[in-house]
Each structure stands twice: as C-alpha cells, then as structure tokens.
Amino acid sequence: MRRPTFITTLVLALAILAGVFFGTAEASWSDRWAALMRTADAPRSLSLILWEWRLPRVLAVATVGASLALAGVMMQTVLHNPLADPYLMGLSSGASAAAVGAILWLPPWVAATMGVPLIAFLGALLAFSLTLGLSFRRGAIMAPLVVILAGVAVSLMFQSLTAFFLYVGDPRATRSALGWLMGTAAGTGWRDLWLPVAALAIVTLFAGVRAQTLDALLLGDERAMALGVPVRRFRLIVFGAVALLAGLSVATVGIVGFVGLIVPHMARLLAGGRHRALIPLALVLGALVLVVVDLLCRVVLAPEEMPLGVLLAIFAAPPFILILRRVRHAF
C-alpha cells in the first residue's frame, strides 16, 4: 500500500472509532469501551446504541463516501472533465423528484410499502436512462460533451419537477421532504448496508482490473482507441457502474454533493493520475470525509442533527478553492 493511502486508512480507522464512540448519549469511557467490546458488564442501552445505531450508520456513510469518490474518479476520467461528478447524468435530480413526489403526493402506504429509498433509486435510474437515451447515437462513441449536455437537460427537468412538488405540496410534509433532499444518515441500519457494500465491492474490482484502460482514457478517446480500447463500450459500462453506486448512495443517505467532485481531485493531488494508485486512495479518502462530516453533523448542534449535505457544502468550499488554484493552469 502506498504511503498516502496507508496513512489515510489509519486515519479512517480512527474516524470510524470516533464515529462509534461520540454522539449525543452520555456515557463514561469505560462503559463505551465495554459496550464496543460487548463485555458482560456493558450497559445494555449503550451497547444497543453503538451496535445497532452508530456502527451501521458509520459504515453506511463510509460506504457511500467511498462509492461517490470512486464514481467521481471514473466519471472525470471517462468524460475528460474535471467538473464531472457522479450525479452528472441527472441521478440526484431524478432521485429527488421521485422521493419528494412520493413523500408529498403519493398515499402514505406506497412509501411505507416500497420505502422512499427504493422510490429514489428508481427515480435515479429513470433520469439515468433518459440521459443515456438522449446521448445515444448509433455508431457514435457517446461524445463526453453530448453526455454532459444531456445530463444537464435531464437534471433541469427533474429539478423543476421537484420545485413544483415542493411549491404546491402540503407545507407540513415539505419539511420531511427537504430533510431528505439535504441528506442524512440517521436511522440507517444493518439491513441497509449489504446492497451498497456489495455494489461497491463489485465496481471496485472492475475498476481495479480495468485501471490501465482508465489510464488510457486520460490520453483522450482517439489515443485510447489507438491503444485498442473499445471506448464506447467501456464508457457505457462505466456509466452503468456509476449509476449503480450513485443510485444506491442516494437511496441510503439522500443527496450528498461534493464528495464525488472534490475527493477525486484531492486523491489525484496526493497519488497522481494513474488509477492503480488513485482508486484505493480515493476510496479511503471518500469514506474518511463522509465519516468525519457525519460525526460533526451529530455533535455540532447536539441534540439536534445537521443535514449531511449542508455541512459538507460548508466544508467542501475551502478545499475546492485550493484545488482550483492548483489545477486552473492545467486546463
């Protein structure tokens, strides 16, 4: 393991421990440790909080952070665009419109039966399919600019729909819808974990095996084709992988911006552009950022909880400006 990845992994392990140890529940350090180790003298309520509430939540945000960072790396590479992020193909807007529509307009039993996360995931897939359909032309290579413009158009359409739902919806219900829009990991349980973890494992394996192909795409479509890369087919597979990661992330914690945009740049500054080194660091860094921000969300205004998306935006601006200063001369 390379040095930046090794150090970041150690810090991530500490952050996960902190995420499990710190929260609004008052307890002594010995009780916290006993609860984590599940010793016989551990307070039962604290064990429950740590094992059934905090740990799955921390692991869920770590998975989402890693997923969004990996998706961001792949999108920036295959679209040759430093501003590309996992939501570029309208995934977040589609998920928002579907979730807000379900919360505000559908009979409560629909959301109760299907669950808002599944409805959001389906909305994300619908937006993704529309973007893909608009970008697709037989025999063409799905030019990055066409995909980006199609994504912008689809995003705008679903954003307008979300705004319309909120404007005409019941004011009492809009607070719940807005809370979902700003992202939160509250209430995430073990049952919510396996699907995002499985998807992350599969896509990480794919990206690892195809690291050289991703490297070749950094040279441009034509140069990659000249090196034997089937650019169109590979781009389609990457879009599918990104849709899976981002769609499941949105379904798990709602809309969490910036991680998929900023973390790939931070990782690139530390590890360089070669994907063999970049992907592991981006995964760990993405997980670390979201675990730390989620912890802050819980403790800054305790006992109230801040939305994940709001705090992330506040923390994301300064590094983004720094990165912009660093890379602006390169584009």
Binding site: N81, G139, T213, D215, L219, E222, M225, A226, G228, A330
Partner: protein, 250 residues
Amino acid sequence: MPSDPMVQIEGLNVSLGGRPRVRDFSLTVKRGSFHGLLGPNGAGKTTLLRVLYRARAADAGLVRIAGTPINDWARPDWTRTVGALVQEGGSLQGLTIRDVVEIGLMNLPLSPEDRTARMDEALHLTGLHDMADSEAALLSGGERQRTHIAQILARDPALHILDEPANHLDLCYQILLLDAIRARGSTVIATFHDLTLAARYCDTVTVMHEGRHVATGRPDEVLTRKIMREVFRVDGALEDGVMRITGALR
C-alpha cells in the same frame, strides 16, 4: 520479412455529418516503407488515418493490415502491431510524462526490465528524460508532441500511423525524431503539411484532394508543378529534394 503489403485499402468511402470525406480511395503500402499522405486542408488525410487506427468505421471499402481486415484483429495482436500518433489531446489529469509513455506499453508482454529500458531510451531520444516526472498537463505544445512520440517510440509497433508528426516541434526535434522513427525500419504512414520534410523522409507519397486519390509515387515523381497548381494552389515544384514555391494562386 513477409512480402505481402503492410497496408491495403480498396474502394474506401467515409463520410462525416453527411459530407463525404474519403471517396473511393485505394492504396497499397509496402512493408518497411515510409509513406506520406499529402494534400491541402480537408483532403481527407486525417479521416483516412482514423479509419486505419480504428477510431472511425468506413461506410464502404476494405482495409487490411498485414493481410488481415482491420476489424478481424484481436485486441492484443492489434496493440502489438499498430501504433498511432493522433492530433487530439486528452486531459492528462495527474499524469507525468513517464506515465504517458508507460500507458502506451499497456497490453505489451514485456518484462519490467524491458519496459524500463524502452521507456528510458524513448525519453532520451525525445529529450524528455530529465523532466520525465513533470506534470504532462502543464507541458507546451511541442513538449506534449514529444511526449506522445516518446510513447510511440517505446511501443515500437510494426506499423506507425502518424498524423502530423512534425506539429509543434522545433526544427531540431523534427529531424531528430523523424530520423529515429525512420531508423526503426518499420512501416510508417504519415501526414505532412511541410512538403520538403515529406520529401526528405518518404519513400513514397500519395496526394489526396477532396477525399480522392490523385497520385502515388516517389516524392519527385508526384510533387510536380501541375499537381502543385491543381491540388495545392501554389506555383512551385520539388527541386533537388526542396520544395521551391514562387507564389500562391487565387
């Protein structure tokens, strides 16, 4: 060395956005020869090369590389056989010069020692060895071109497809690098705007005009006063290996 041609093109037609770019074009390039594609802007040279390195499909016609239709090549064999220098530039985000050269060696069955030796030789030849760990995204146009040529030199393919290899290069590197490519003895098919440079390096040249084949032969046979007037719209001809131009035609 097998005696069959390295490149065979028969009745090729390619259109872009409904506009024909290459029309009923045929050409044969011998193994080991340095072949130039010449013509004014819009003649179809780059489009033809894009078909050769499989970035674009033809509407009609047949292209064979070393006797095999280009679409029948398995990817690993293709990567080992064909190398292309293209005009398009990627983002090169986070890559060093050494990275760019090494990426070109993907899919080649090389030992780590061979890989390093090939990269070092290519970086020395292109004058980039001392700056090999510099960020590729920050390079000047000439340095970028040298980086991509270093990648081709390190790959050392049997067929070099070079789109404007002299672009952005100063005179010294034009000569140094084209000498290095020529010294490999591989088959080269390259486009040139500088006709004197083309005459210096090409065993044979083909002149294209509006997507059509005009003439093929030795540079001194092809770059005649008549073709210079009709195709390039200048008064001039190749004399003693130097293109002498007296003026442009309106």
